[in-house]
Amino acid sequence: MKRFRFNQQEIVFAVFALLFLVFSIFLNGFLTAENMLTLLQNVAVLGILGLAMAIVVIGRGIDISLIAALAVPPGLALQMVQNGHSLPFSLLIAVLLTIAFGLVNGWLIAYAEVPSLFATLATGLLLAGLGQAALFQLDVVQWSPGMDGFERLGQGTVLGVPTSIWMFAIACIVVAFLLRQTRWGAYIYAIGDNPYAARVTGIPSRPIIVLQYVITALIGCFAGLVLAASVNSMPTRIFNSTLIYDVILVVVLGGIGLSGGRGGVLNVIIGTLLIGTMLNGMTIMDISYAGQNLIKGVVLLLAVITDSFLNPRNEETAQQGDI
């Protein structure tokens, strides 16, 4: 007789379906076309960030500095346009800054061997501090006429679906292609599964790790541009928010184990839907920001505990200092 065993992905999907059903029945204004649009729009940026995080988590890392990559380079682009530079030039500078930032992260983690949690915690602070100290004049970088046309990245609809959803879909396809169809993607899984084995097999672990963080930062920057386009400004104080925990929540709940080597784009989509529904429901229920955080925190904690049971840490390859 076949034993009933659900994997985490299925459980989370079931929970999402249940939650969606309960909210639809009991929450007024949840299952409306307008709310669904808001939900999906909110979810889009989170989903893109989840994809970015998924890449490093699959490679047995984590990127706490993702929100800095989301806020600072797009903010810089907006600021430069505001100061009279052309849009393409500003975007180019923003992308270069993002790549440089990703390289720094990757170098610290792959070559200087600083634990990824720790390195990105510090570099995130560094980049946010840089933005605060040197790049922006105000905490919220405003839209300027030079940006006209760019807002279509986050606003409006194509074939009746909001653009930001399309952006999420594009990001999903790109990341799925990278992870599943390219050699580099396979390397990322190999490194995440067992870094030492990957290294002795001849995989260029260190360059691949650097690549992971560069791609992650670029996707983060992309998410930032979508966010800025959808709200017509770049609220750089977003760095102080708990958005990064939402992103980790998406990844862990979706079933990408923090011990690396597992999961894919589908997990991110499922996680995103669940978190999006949860956040949206809590907003409709008018739970305060702190209250939402509390609930999110508890859910995240439960997710991490479950994760540690479903994907136990590999004691053989877990190294000392792997906190």
Partner: protein, 705 residues
């Protein structure tokens, strides 16, 4: 001329100190301390009143509060975890204290106890999750950070007005916050007391050692029976309590529950911890490091604030320092042993004249022969590494083995072998005392005594520490050979104080006088260093006059005499020098002369290299250790010399088939028994014209039948 200069340079310049200082654990604390001094000096020059008493007292109050939190984090990091929730615990316990005092109106002692309990509880949540459920510390405490913070936000939404409008006027509460004793703020005083306790706890008490052990290697700690999970959980509890102590002082000083209290505190404390040199990942941490780190971070942030830097700059500075400190720490931890091993070997100048000839046909006392060819082997393939051999009056043969045993071969045919005593370290030189106790030098352990019934007792394993040595030379590293005087004084040699037993050839490469001769008084149990600065002192034998000992300096290629009594007490005299080989053990012969084993013969290459310290240093730095020049110990011989240092006879084995190497020999009832530290056998050689009743220690103690 050039040789003279080289010799002077190496005689007076202490090359060996660099490696010894670097291998001290306190050098890791020294670097942050130097950084602290630099930062303090820089700011005191660029900012007025930076070091004024008022400013210092203010810094001290902040340092005390943050210091408590840093102590907690130091504990958690040392045990191999991390606690990011300290900022939120700080905020929550701060709220707890003020709520209980202002709104609930509790008395101060109750508030203090309740706040500490609250901290313990919040820490216990982390402790259970990380310690017992074995979640990842970083991600778990990140989550509890959010949960605690949102709980705090919810609480202050409701109670901040009530707390802000209350003005408690309680002297004891004010004393906690603003009081001072002899000009030292209360909080600083409390910190000092707890820090001293913490230092004793971490370095002298069992739980502190457990914490370091778990951080060093969790699995080994578990295997050695340490309650890993409980200890880790308790570390988080302690972190919570210490954070609440800091919060108590903060609450009594400012009395506010603003929204941003404790936000980003974890980064500051973490920076302080890493900057102080507490290794992420655990196993290394001290109170001093934590305190130094806190001071550096506070000086920098306060200095930047005074200089009106923007918030972003402060943030960048902190993050930048954090990154650099973490990087340096990780690189240093990774390369420490390699760097030390590169600089530790410090060769010195050592000149020997050309050795006397040994070839057949060249004449001289060392002329080779093939006398030892007929040596018969005892225990072939059954014993390993018998460095020294000794026989009792019943003709039983005792020899050390590499496995840490004293083996006994039973007379008369020496076929039956048994373990006489198990010690655990490699037995080297041996001697019987008047009561038939066997005294043995154990490499790496010290001097041991084995009673006739086989019970093992430690005689001594430490001597007085010399003031000028950087390495702790009180511990015996390589006790080598010994002899006992008529008064029950044991003289034994310690070959080197700089290397462990398995590294003895490196000491030969260094050719510095690293060894010493130590005496142990069997009557009083006192151990005393008699002579220092000897080049690998090895064999020791009490001379026939009963007032002096003869000792061999292996890499000095000489035999010397040291008077321990009589008119020339304290004097050292050369008996033989420029031997053609490296002398090892010395023992008495039945005709009143002395036996000496040459463990290996000198080679022109090492003789030359000994005159070129720079060459040997480059070799030690660039060439892998198993390709270094190694003193030859494959071919050796036994010689007999008289009281005046004249060679009477020599015994060689040209092919080394029956008995390949010789580290010691013992004459017994007309036979010479040979030991060799790399051998798998004991040799026996029939002597001509020897006293057939000679039993060395029976003759010495007058028990000869």
């Amino acid at each position: 001329m050039r040789d003279t200069l080289t010799s002077l340079r190496y005689r007076y310049w202490p090359d060996h100190l660099l490696g010894e200082i670097l291998s001290k654990r306190w050098t890791e604390t020294a670097i942050p301390v130097i950084l602290l001094l630099i930062v303090g000096f820089a700011f005191s020059r660029s900012i007025d009143n930076f070091l004024s008493p008022a400013s210092l007292a203010d810094t001290a109050r902040q340092a005390g509060e943050i210091g408590f939190i840093a102590l907690g984090l130091a504990l958690v990091v040392t045990v191999g975890g991390i606690d990011l929730s300290v900022g939120s615990i700080f905020a929550l316990t701060d709220f707890c204290a003020l709520y209980l005092l202002d709104v609930a109106g509790w008395p101060v002692p109750a508030v203090v106890v309740a706040t500490l309990f609250c901290g313990a509880l919040l820490g216990a949540v982390n402790g259970v999750l990380v310690g017992y459920l074995r979640l990842r510390a970083f991600i778990t405490t990140l989550i509890t950070l959010i949960i605690y913070r949102s709980a705090y936000d919810l609480l202050i939404q409701r109670y901040s007005n009530a707390i802000a409008s209350a003005f408690p006027d309680i002297p004891s509460w004010d004393f906690i916050g603003a009081g001072s004793v002899f000009g030292i703020p209360t909080v600083a005083l409390a910190y000092i007391v707890i820090a001293i306790f913490g230092h004793i706890f971490m370095t002298r008490l069992r739980p502190g050692w457990h914490i370091t052990a778990i951080g060093g290697s969790r699995r080994s700690a578990y295997n050695s029976g340490i309650p890993v999970r409980r200890t880790i959980a308790l570390c988080y509890v302690a972190s919570g309590v210490l954070t609440s102590v800091g919060a108590l002082f903060f609450a009594s000083r400012l009395g506010t529950v603003g929204g941003d209290i404790g936000v980003g505190l974890e980064v500051i404390v973490l920076t302080a911890t890493v900057l102080g040199g507490i290794t992420l990942g655990g196993g290394k941490g001290s109170v001093a490091k934590s305190a130094v780190g806190v001071l550096i971070v506070l000086l920098i942030t306060n200095g930047l604030t005074t200089m009106n830097a923007r918030g972003g700059v402060n943030r960048m500075a902190l993050a930048g320092i954090l990154l650099v400190a973490a990087m340096v720490d990780i690189r240093w931890q990774k390369n420490r042993t390699r760097i030390i091993s590169k600089v530790y070997v410090a060769p010195t100048y050592h000149e020997l004249p050309p050795p006397p000839p040994t070839e057949i046909g060249q004449g001289g006392p060392f002329e080779q022969n093939d006398k030892l060819r007929i040596v018969e082997a005892i225990g072939l393939g059954r014993i390993e590494a018998p460095e020294d051999v000794i026989l009792d009056r019943h003709d039983n043969l005792y020899a050390g083995s590499r496995h840490g045993d004293i083996m006994r071969f039973l007379a008369p045919d020496y076929q039956k072998m048994e373990v006489f005593a198990h010690i655990g370290g490699q037995p080297l030189g041996m001697a019987f005392d008047r009561e038939d106790n066997l005294y043995v030098c154990i490499g790496g352990m010290g001097l041991y005594r084995i009673k006739p019934d086989g019970t093992v007792e430690k005689a001594t394993d430490e001597t007085n520490r010399s003031m000028r040595s950087v390495n702790d030379d009180s511990r015996l590293r390589l006790a080598d050979d010994l002899d006992i005087t008529d008064d029950g004084l044991i003289f034994f040699s310690e070959a080197t104080v700089r290397y462990e037993m398995d590294e003895w050839p490196i000491d030969g490469l260094e050719a510095r006088g690293n060894g010493r001769i130590i005496s142990y008084d069997t009557k009083t149990g006192a151990t005393r260093t008699e002579l220092r600065g000897l080049k690998f002192p090895n064999g020791i034998c009490v001379a026939s006059d009963g007032q002096s000992i003869l000792f061999a300096e292996t890499f000095g290629c000489s035999i010397k005499r040291y008077w321990f009594a009589g008119p020339r007490k304290g004097a050292v005299e050369v008996v033989m020098d420029n031997l053609p080989g490296y002398p090892d053990n010395i023992n008495l012969a039945s005709d009143g002369n002395y036996w000496l084993a040459l463990v290996g013969m000198r080679s022109p290459s090492l003789d030359l290299a000994w005159k070129m310290p720079g060459f040997r240093r480059r070799m030690a730095k660039r060439v892998p250790v198993d390709e270094w020049l190694f003193p030859n110990i494959n071919t050796g011989c036994v010689v007999k010399f008289n009281e005046q240092g004249k060679i009477v006879e020599s015994f060689w084995d040209l092919h080394g088939e029956n008995h390949p190497m010789i580290t010691s020999m013992r004459e017994h009832r007309g036979y010479l028994y040979l030991g060799g530290i790399l051998n798998n056998r004991i040799g026996r050689y029939k002597l001509d014209n020897a006293d057939p009743n000679f039993v060395q220690y029976d003759k010495r103690w007058g028990k000869q039948s």
